[in-house]
Symmetry: C2
Subunit: 431 residues, 2 copies
C-alpha cells in the first residue's frame, strides 16, 4: 500500500492509502468518530465508522489523545464541505506513540507560555499556515532572482567591523581577534556585484537591540540585492517587481493557508507594480496635514508616521530622498541637493511598516573616503571597500528586504514573533 | 539603444547594443585591439578596428587599463572560434572610471596576497566560474526541495546550548545570558519536522576549530534536511537523489564554467543514483587490505582513510553503521547490534572527503534521556528536544550537506577557501 502525504490526496481518490499522521483534534459519538489529522503537509478529516472498522479500532480511535502519532490506513474520498476537499474513510489505525497531556489545547494560552512551548506551538493550524507562507516567500524569492540572472553571493556573518558603525552588535572572540555578527552583507555584496554583476543574498542578520516591539527580532533573515551599472530608479523598479512577484506567488500558492489565517486577499491582489513614490519632503508635509505637529524636516519616521503615510496609499509606497543626516555613510547624495540622498524605503500597507531600505551607493573614491572620516569609522577596516572605488568603480544600487516583516504583512499576523520558527527576542533564547 | 548583459548576447546577433563592462585583459597592434570584457554575467571579446572607430576611440581602447569600467557600444556578431560563441564589434567606448594598478595581474600571486585581495580576486575567471557553480548548486538545492514538498524552516543561529556538546563554539553575550553560534540546526529541524513533515534549512554554520586543512572553513554553509515518518534507508535514497540532482544541474547549466575550470566532466556524468553503500565494518576491512595497519575498529576515519575508501568506487559512497562511540548522542542504535548506529556519511570521489553526515534519530524518550545523561549534557537545555519524544514521537531521519565541500568537489578546485565569496579561516577575518 502506498504511503502518501495529505497534500497529495487529490491524486488518490477511491484508493486505499497509508498516512503517517498526528491527531490534531477529534470528536465522536457512539457510532462515529471524526479525527482531525495532520502530517505537516496539510490537515484532513478521518472518518471512523464503528460498524465498518469493528469495536477494537473504533475504541482506539475514540481513545486517541491530541498529538498522538500513528500510521493510519483508509480510502480517500471527495468532501465538498471542507475547503481541503478530501476526506479519509479510516480502515486501520496503528498508534506509534500516544501523546500525554499535550500542553497546547484549543483553549487560549498566554504568550509566554506559547513561546516557551514554541517547539510544540509550531504544530498549530495558524503557525503551520504562517510557516507555509514564509516558505512560499522564500521559494518565490529564489525563483525571482534566478529568473533574472542573479548570482547568490553569501556575505560573511563574522566580520571585523560593522557596516554602519552601530553599537548594537553581538561580539565574539575570533581566535585572537574581535569579531562581530553581521547586520548587513551589503558592503560585501557591493564587492561581489563588481565581480558577478547582479547578486543577492539571503541569510540571518543580528541586532542586539533592546527593543520589544511587534516589528523587531534580534535575529532575522534578510534578502539583499546589489547590481552594478544600476541607478536608483532602476533599482526601485526591481524592488516593486520583486515585492509584487512574492505577493502574487503567496496569493496563488497559499490559498488554503491565507483562508486559514483569515487574510483579506483583496489587499494582496492589489500588490502589483508600479508602486507609488513620495519624496521625504512631501511625506513630511503629508504628516503635517494629518496633524503630526511634532515631526520636523530632518527627523526620522517612527512606526506611527510610517503607518499614517501608508494609509494614504492602497499599495506599498516608496518614500524617497531622505535627509543625509539620518541615513548611512555610503548613500549617494542627490546630484543637485546636498541635503538629501538617493535612497528609498518601501513602506508596507496596513501598518506593517518599512520592509525595504535601499539606495544608490557612493562610487566616487574621494567622497566615500570623506564620508568614512566624517562618520568616524575605522579606515583600515574599510580599506578594501574604499578600494572598490579605485578599481573600476561604477554606479550601483541595492536594497535589503526584511523577511519576517514581509511574512507578517502578507500573512496578516500581528506580531513578528510568529513569523520565524524559533524567534530570538529580548531575553528569549529558548527553545 | 538597449543595455544588455553579456550572457544574453546570443539574442542580439546583428544588433547594436550597450554593455556596462570591465576590462579583464587586452592585446593590440597598430590597427586592431582585442578587449577581453566582463560584466559579471560572462566574458566576451570586443574587437576595436582603428579604421572603423577612428583615432580617438582607438587610442582610448589601447589605453584601457585592467579593470577599468566603461559603457561600450557595438554590434553583436557570431564567433565560432570562442567557446562563448559571440563577439562585440566595438563602435564607442565611454570610460566610467580608469582603474589604477589593479593588484591581481595574469602573473602568479601568493595565496596570502590573493586572500588579502579577495574583494578583487573574485573578478578573476576562475573565481567567477567557481561562484557560478556555487550559485547553481544553491539554485538546484531549492528546486529539489521545493519540488519534493519540503518547507524551509530556518533554525536559529544563536542558541543557549550546543547540539553535540562540543567545545569548538563561538560565544557571545545575549543581553544577560550566554549564547553560542549554531553548529547545526538539526535539533530544531526535528521539532519543525513534527510540525511540517518534511523540512530543510540552508544557512551559515560556525566551528571555532583550530584546523588549517584544505577542507575546513570556520564559517560555512550547510543544507540540512529532516523528515518525519522516515527511516535510514529512505533517507539515504533522498540523499543520493539530491546529490545526483545538483551534480546533473551543474553539468547542464555550467558548461562554460566547467570548461574554464578544466573540470573532467565525465566524472560528473557518472554521479547518478543509486550510490554504493559499504558498512563501517567492511570499510575497516577494506582499509586493512589497502595497507592501513594503524586503524582499528572503533576509530574515526581521517581524510586519507576517506580518500582510500572512495578510490574503490566510481561514485560517491555511503559508509553506514558507524560505532556508537564516535557518533553524536541522538543517533538511533542498530536494532540488533548495540555497538553501531543507524547512520551514514557520504564520501565524495577524488579525495574530496565527507560531504554528508546523516542518521535516523532516537525517537524513544527513555533512551534519548539516557543518552543525554551519558554524554553529560545539560538536561535543562535539551528539555524541549526531549519533550518531542513524549508528544507524538515518530521515526525520523535527516542529513546535513556541507555546501563548500560540495562546491569544491563539483568544480574541481583544490582548496575550500575558493568556494565561498569571503572565506573565514583560522586567523583570516579580512576582508
Ligand atoms: Mg526607517
Ligand atoms: Mg566523518
Amino acid at each position: 500500500m502506498k504511503k502518501i502525504m495529505i497534500k497529495d490526496m487529490e491524486n488518490y481518490v477511491g484508493e486505499t492509502v497509508k498516512l503517517g499522521a498526528w491527531l490534531a483534534n477529534k470528536r465522536s459519538s457512539g457510532k462515529i468518530a471524526f479525527l482531525q489529522l495532520r502530517d505537516g503537509s496539510g490537515f484532513v478529516q478521518g472518518v471512523v465508522v464503528k460498524e465498518e472498522v469493528g469495536e477494537e479500532i473504533f475504541q482506539t480511535a475514540k481513545g486517541l489523545t491530541q498529538e498522538t502519532s500513528m500510521y493510519i490506513i483508509g480510502e480517500v474520498t471527495k468532501d465538498d464541505r471542507s475547503s481541503f476537499g478530501y476526506e479519509l474513510q479510516v480502515k486501520e489505525i496503528k498508534v506509534i506513540q500516544a501523546a500525554v497531556d499535550f500542553p497546547i489545547t484549543p483553549k487560549e494560552h498566554g504568550t509566554e507560555f506559547l513561546m516557551d512551548n514554541r517547539h510544540l506551538w509550531l504544530r498549530s493550524r495558524k503557525q503551520h499556515a504562517v510557516m507555509k507562507v514564509r516558505n512560499e516567500i522564500i521559494r518565490a524569492t529564489y525563483e525571482f532572482f534566478n529568473n533574472n540572472g542573479y548570482v547568490k553571493a553569501d556575505p560573511p556573518i563574522l566580520t571585523g567591523s560593522s557596516p554602519e558603525g552601530t553599537s548594537e552588535l553581538f561580539h565574539t572572540k575570533y581566535f585572537d581577534e574581535d569579531a562581530y555578527l553581521s547586520q548587513s552583507g551589503q558592503l560585501y555584496l557591493e564587492a561581489s556585484a563588481m565581480a558577478l554583476g547582479k547578486v543577492f543574498s539571503f541569510g540571518p542578520t543580528f541586532r542586539a537591540e533592546k527593543s520589544k516591539t511587534r516589528r523587531h527580532l534580534i535575529e532575522f533573515w534578510m534578502i539583499e540585492q546589489e547590481m552594478a551599472f544600476c541607478e536608483l530608479e532602476e533599482n526601485l523598479e526591481i524592488q516593486e517587481q520583486y515585492v509584487a512577484f512574492i505577493a502574487q506567488a503567496v496569493l496563488k500558492n497559499c490559498t488554503l493557508e491565507l483562508e486559514r489565517l483569515g487574510r483579506d486577499v483583496s489587499k494582496l491582489e492589489n500588490i502589483q507594480a508600479p508602486f507609488p513614490r513620495i519624496s521625504y519632503d512631501d511625506a513630511i508635509k503629508l504628516l503635517h496635514e494629518k496633524g503630526f505637529d511634532d515631526i520636523v524636516w530632518g527627523d526620522d519616521f517612527g512606526a506611527p508616521h510610517e503607518t499614517a503615510i501608508a494609509e494614504s496609499f492602497d499599495k506599498p509606497v516608496f518614500i524617497t530622498h531622505y535627509p543625509v543626516g539620518i541615513k548611512p555613510f555610503y548613500m549617494k547624495p542627490h546630484p543637485t541637493r546636498d541635503d538629501v540622498v538617493l535612497c528609498a524605503d518601501l513602506i508596507a500597507p496596513e501598518g506593517y511598516g518599512e520592509i525595504i531600505g535601499g539606495s544608490e551607493r557612493i562610487w566616487d573614491y574621494d567622497l566615500l573616503k570623506q564620508r568614512i572620516q566624517e562618520h568616524g569609522l575605522d579606515e583600515s577596516a574599510y580599506a578594501w571597500y574604499l578600494e572598490l572605488r579605485k578599481q573600476g568603480s561604477v554606479p550601483h544600487s541595492g536594497f535589503g528586504l526584511g523577511l519576517e516583516r514581509t511574512v507578517a504583512w502578507l500573512s496578516g499576523v500581528e506580531h513578528i514573533r510568529e513569523t520565524i520558527p524559533f524567534p530570538r527576542l529580548l531575553n528569549r533564547l529558548y527553545p
